[in-house]
Symmetry: C2
Subunit: 223 residues, 2 copies
C-alpha cells in the first residue's frame, strides 16, 4: 500500500541567478568549488581534512562549513591551518547560495585554489540547492549500507562524484563497497566513484587526483 | 568566523491541531505511537524488524514507512507479516501529521497495539514536525560517530528515547557508545538510552521492555 504526497519546490529564479553569479565570480578567480553532500556522520569533515593535508604545498584549500549548532567542524579545519568560515543554520536543513556568498566575504579568496563547501549533514534537502559549485560530491559511508543510491537517488543523480568512505569497516558490515558503487552508477552512469577510508587514509590518492584534474580542467577552460 | 542565518518556521497551527487530533484518536484505540527519527542508514528499519519479531505473539506492531523513492522498507516489514503502509515523499524531507493520517486509513488499526512511524532518513527536518506520536525515538548509529547529540541537538532534545545501534562495530570505530550516551544525556537528561546491535540482536531486550512499559503506561492512563 503506497501513498504519494506532493511537495512544493521552494527554489526561486532569484536563487538560481545568485548561484550562477557566484559560479561566475569563482571562475574569474580560478577557484574550483566543491559542494560536499552527505548524511550525518558519513565523514564529510574527515574527507575535507584528508584533502587539505593531501594537497598541502601544492593546492590551497578554503572551507565553508555548514552546521546546525556548533563550530566544531570549522575548528577542526582551522587546526590544520586552512581558512574556514562557519555557517550556523540553527534548524536550517541545507545551505543556500546567498549563505555561501555571505560567508565568502570572510575568506581570503586570493589565497584559495579549491573551495570546499561542506553542506549540512542531510542527504535530502541539500540536493535541491545550487550553491554555485563546479562539482557536487556525495560522501557515502559504507556503514550506512549499500542501498543509499536507491533510497536517496536525487543526491546521486545530481552529483559528479561519490566518495565511499569507511571501507575499512567492510569486513564487519553486511554492506559491500562494490554493490554501493554499482547502485550509484545505476542511478548516474557518469559518476566518478572512489572507495576510501578517511580513518586509515587508504584509497585517497584517486580522489586527490580527481580534485587536481577538475581544477586543471576548470583553469584550462578559462583561457 | 561564524555566520548565523534565520530560518522560517513553516509549521502552522492547523498542523498542530491535526497532530493533537491524531494522538487523541490513537489514544482512544489504545495504540502506542512511536515516531522513529534517524539519519539515513542508522538502522531504523532494522530496529522495526527486531521490534516486530521481539514482540511477536505478545503485541501487534503496525508500521508507517516514510521514504523518498522506494517501497523497499515496507516490503521488508510486510515480509515479517506485519501490516505496513508506505508513504513516498518524492523530495519531501520529513513526514507530516496529515500524511500519517492519510496512511492510517490503509492499516487495520483494530489489530494494532504499537504503531511505529518510520520517518524519512533525516536528522534535521523531522524534528520540527509532530506526527501525533506518544514517543519520539532517535536511532543513532555508533558508526556515524559519538558527536551527533552536539551537532544535531534538536533531534535529541525533543526525543524520549535514543537507541544507539551498530554497537557491534565499536571495536573498529573511533566512536564510543558511552560517550554518545553521555552527550545525549547532556542535551536531554530525561532520555532513555539503549545500546543495541540490530545486526547481532544484542541489547534489544531493554528496548522491548521500554516499548511494553510505554504501552502499559498509556493504557493505564486511559482508564
Amino acid at each position: 500500500m503506497s501513498v504519494r504526497v506532493a511537495v512544493l519546490a521552494q527554489i526561486t529564479e532569484a536563487d538560481r541567478i545568485l548561484a550562477d553569479g557566484l559560479r561566475a565570480d569563482l571562475a574569474r578567480r580560478g577557484i574550483l568549488a566543491i559542494n560536499l553532500i552527505a548524511a550525518p556522520g558519513a565523514g564529510k569533515t574527515a574527507l575535507v581534512e584528508r584533502t587539505i593535508v593531501g594537497l598541502k604545498g601544492e593546492l590551497r584549500v578554503g572551507v565553508v562549513e555548514g552546521d546546525l549548532a556548533t563550530s566544531l567542524d570549522a575548528e577542526r579545519i582551522a587546526a590544520l591551518g586552512a581558512p574556514a568560515v562557519q555557517i550556523t543554520t540553527g534548524s536550517g536543513c541545507h545551505l543556500e547560495a546567498r549563505m555561501v556568498q555571505a560567508a565568502l566575504g570572510s575568506l581570503p579568496l586570493e589565497e584559495i585554489d579549491v573551495l570546499i563547501v561542506e553542506n549540512v549533514g542531510n542527504l535530502v534537502c541539500p540536493t535541491a540547492w545550487d550553491l554555485g559549485e563546479d562539482a557536487r560530491v556525495v560522501v557515502a559511508s559504507l556503514a550506512e549500507g549499500d542501498d543509499k543510491p536507491r533510497k536517496y537517488p536525487a543526491a546521486f543523480a545530481t552529483a559528479q562524484a561519490v566518495v565511499v568512505n569507511k571501507t575499512d569497516l567492510e569486513p564487519y558490515l553486511p554492506a559491500r563497497a562494490a554493490v554501493l558503487r554499482e547502485r550509484a552508477l545505476a542511478v548516474n552512469g557518469s559518476l566518478a566513484v572512489f572507495e576510501v577510508s578517511c580513518l586509515t587514509g587508504s584509497g585517497l590518492e584517486g580522489w586527490l587526483e580527481w580534485v587536481r584534474e577538475s581544477l586543471r580542467r576548470k583553469r584550462g577552460g578559462k583561457g
